[in-house]
Each structure stands twice: as C-alpha cells, then as structure tokens.
Symmetry: C2
Subunit: 239 residues, 2 copies
C-alpha cells in the first residue's frame, strides 16, 4: 500500500509553500501515517484531473483519491479511527471548520498580498506566466500593484490574529489541551509565510508566536525542518 500527497512546489522542488498542503502534511504526521509527497506545480492540472478539479492537496491513499484539505482531514479520521484523532468529537470538529474558514477568509488575503512577489519568484518557470495571469485577472491589477508592503502586511496580520491571540492566552492549544486539526489549520497559514520569509512573521513575545514554536516542535520538529526561501529570492519581497 502506498500513500502519496500531491504537494505544491516551487522552482526548487524542496520549496513547499501551500498552506492547505501544510495542514494535511502535519495532520498525516499527527495520525502517524507514512506518506510520500510528489512535488506538483500550479500548471500540472492533468496529473490530478481525476479529482475533477485543479488544486492541491490531493491525497492518493492506496487506490482512493481525496481532495480538499477539509475532506482529507475528515477522511483520515474516518478511515483510521484507531489512530490519534485529528478532531475529537463535535466541538473540535466545529471549531476546526470555523478556524479553517477564518484562515481562508481573514488571514490568507493578507498573507497572499504580503508574499505575492515571493511566491511568484519562488514558482517554477513553467508556473510563473500562469500565476501572474490568473492572479492579475482575478484581482484586476498587476502583481506588483497587488503586493502589500511587508511591514504593513505583518501589522495587518497581528491585528487579524487577535481571536487566536485571545484564545492562546487562555489555552495551550487552539481547541483545548491537546494539538488538533484546528491548530494545523492556523499552522498551515503561518508556515506559508514562514517558508517565504527569512524573518519571523509573528512576534516570539505573543501567545501566537509561542504556540507557533510549539507546533514547529511537534513530530520531531517536522514543520521546523521545512525548506525556507533562499536569501536572494526573499529579498525582493522584503523591499
């Protein structure tokens, strides 16, 4: 039996930045399930065509193809009930749904704007024209115009993270006493920024910053070992 995850990669195949793929990679570690990742590029729609859509993560679990990070998380808990649950009961499941949607809606526009040029610069050559064209069409402006200045972006991020900061001031993990899929949702978002930046994107003095370090430590430092953007590439996004 094989288990593979199609994982968004850059020009450098070691560069993995998708927040949705990070959710699932660390979720697979939480479940204790072995897996291989296949570097996938934005333009490789044909490779995952049998899911009927064009985005990753896509998990191929032996014969079964599953896409969409939320559906994959549900699938993992349903298919491996003997492994540590990603969501223990209705309250953790509800919170994970809330927080995943909140990440998509509130944090991702800020992170996307802040790291837009970093993503473009890190993208595979064959993806760059596609990335520029699709994003400029979607948002109606040039990438360089859509990009948010780094310090303004990170300031907006601190503000947007307020509900997580309030929660982590009273709770060690986002959904209570143990790490769960809610943590991995927010982790994916911040890891996206982390791998595209040479500098920390959240303050180590904040509750979110301290929690992020704890998540990076989980599973033998799985998240911490991620490949970080090279200085040269990171430079352009930081100016």
């Amino acid at each position: 039996m094989t288990r593979t995850l199609y994982d968004l990669a850059g020009k450098d195949p070691a560069m993995r930045f998708s927040p949705f793929c990070w959710r699932i990679k660390i979720a697979l570690r939480h479940k204790g399930l072995d897996f291989d990742t296949i570097p996938w590029r934005f333009t490789e729609k044909d490779v995952i065509a049998r899911t009927g859509q064009g985005r990753v993560p896509v998990l191929v679990d032996d014969e079964r193809w599953v896409h969409d990070s939320w559906q994959i998380a549900l699938y993992l808990d349903e298919s491996y009930p003997d492994r540590p649950p990603l969501m223990r009961g209705a309250a953790e499941r509800a919170m994970a749904r809330f927080v995943s949607s909140w990440c998509d809606q509130t944090l991702h526009p800020i992170l996307r704007s802040t790291f837009l040029l970093a993503i473009y610069d890190a993208a595979a050559d064959k993806d760059r024209a596609y990335f520029r064209e699709s994003r400029e069409k979607l948002f109606g402006a040039k990438l360089e115009k859509l990009a948010m200045e780094r310090s303004a972006g990170l300031k907006a991020l601190v503000q947007a993270l307020q509900p997580a900061e309030a929660t982590l001031n009273v709770s060690r993990w986002l959904a209570g006493d143990e790490p769960s899929y809610t943590d991995y949702c927010l982790f994916g978002s911040l890891q996206w920024g982390r791998v595209l930046s040479r500098e920390p994107i959240v303050s180590p003095d904040s509750a979110v910053g301290r929690w992020f370090e704890r998540v990076l430590d989980l599973f033998d430092g799985y998240g911490r070992q991620a490949h970080i953007v090279s200085s040269e590439t990171a430079h352009r996004s930081a100016v």
Copy 2:
C-alpha cells in the same frame, strides 16, 4: 439572595441593545438562574464604579460584583457547577474565547457602523451628547460620516459571517451538538442588530439565519421577545 444585571438601555427603558449584555442574559437563562435587569445608561458610570470600570454587563450575584462578559460566563460555570454548563470542557471554552474575540473584532465594527445612527436615536437623552462626543473622538469623524449605508453594511456582514456559515453548514450549533456559550456570543452580536432594525439582518435562507431562529426559540423564545426599535426610530438608520 438577589441576582441583578446592569443592562444597557435606551431612552425607552425596554430597549436593550448591548451585544455583551445579550450574551449574559441568555447565558443566565441557559443556566436556569433567575435574575432582574436594571436599565443602565452609558453615562451612569457612578452606579457601577465599584467594578473599577465603566461598561456593562455587570452582574451582582448576591454580594459579588462581576464585570466583563467573558469573566461573567466563567464565573457562572464556576459558581454553579450543578447547572447546565455554558462551556463543556477545554474545547468549548477555547472556541467560545475565539468566537467572542472574533465577534468583537470582525462583526462589531460592521454592526456598529451600520446601526450607529439607530443607536444614537435610541439612546437616552442624557446619553446622546456623550455617545456622539466619545465616538466622534474615538473614530475621528462625525457620526453621520461614520455610519455605513444599511445595504452595504449588511452585505459586509454576510461576508464577515463566512466562518460561522461554514460551521453551521456542518454543525447544528456553533460548538457542536448542543447550544453553548459560543452560540450566545454570536447571538448577542446579531441580536444587537435585530433589535435596532425592523428588517431581518441575516437571510432566512442561510445556515446562520436558520441557526439564529433556533437561538431565538430557546428558553421559551427569550430572545424573540426582546423589544424592537420603533418604526419611527428605525427609519433614520435605514435610509
């Protein structure tokens, strides 16, 4: 033993619009605890001075004064462990903290702008000058300039409610299978808009709209019986 809640009221003492007070009133019903409310106006800081701050809700439970909606919710669960819990365990507590902060940060600026003139018009005569002056100083513009046009406000509200909509599409209540304090936090925010508006502020066709009706039905329709702004007063905010 007496139990009283200082509850923000308008010119008409039956008009109760504070989202934070609504959280606690319905929480007290959830716990099955009897209480009286005392209509309180923005300028009556002296009445609650012994809490060391100037905002409601303030609960006086026999001899004990408790302020801040989150602290009151924790107090109720701690002091009445034999009554139905507002938050069952660490996951529900974490989610309530997250969602209460998210309401304050994301929904309240929209609701405040949309119903700003309705609040001003509904306020007690002695509160109006205070309300105008404090808000204009805080936000640096005239109330009439700060007010958001109703249809734009409600459109922004739908967008902001997306995490709740996603959650309520997969869960009957916000934190799982039973109503809990997380529900009362969002309920307070939407009830604030509801009592200041003659028209529904969320679509009955949305998951949030259907859930809101369920909360209004709880405890013999406690929330549904709230006094709604009169047509005359509501008119100015709707234009």
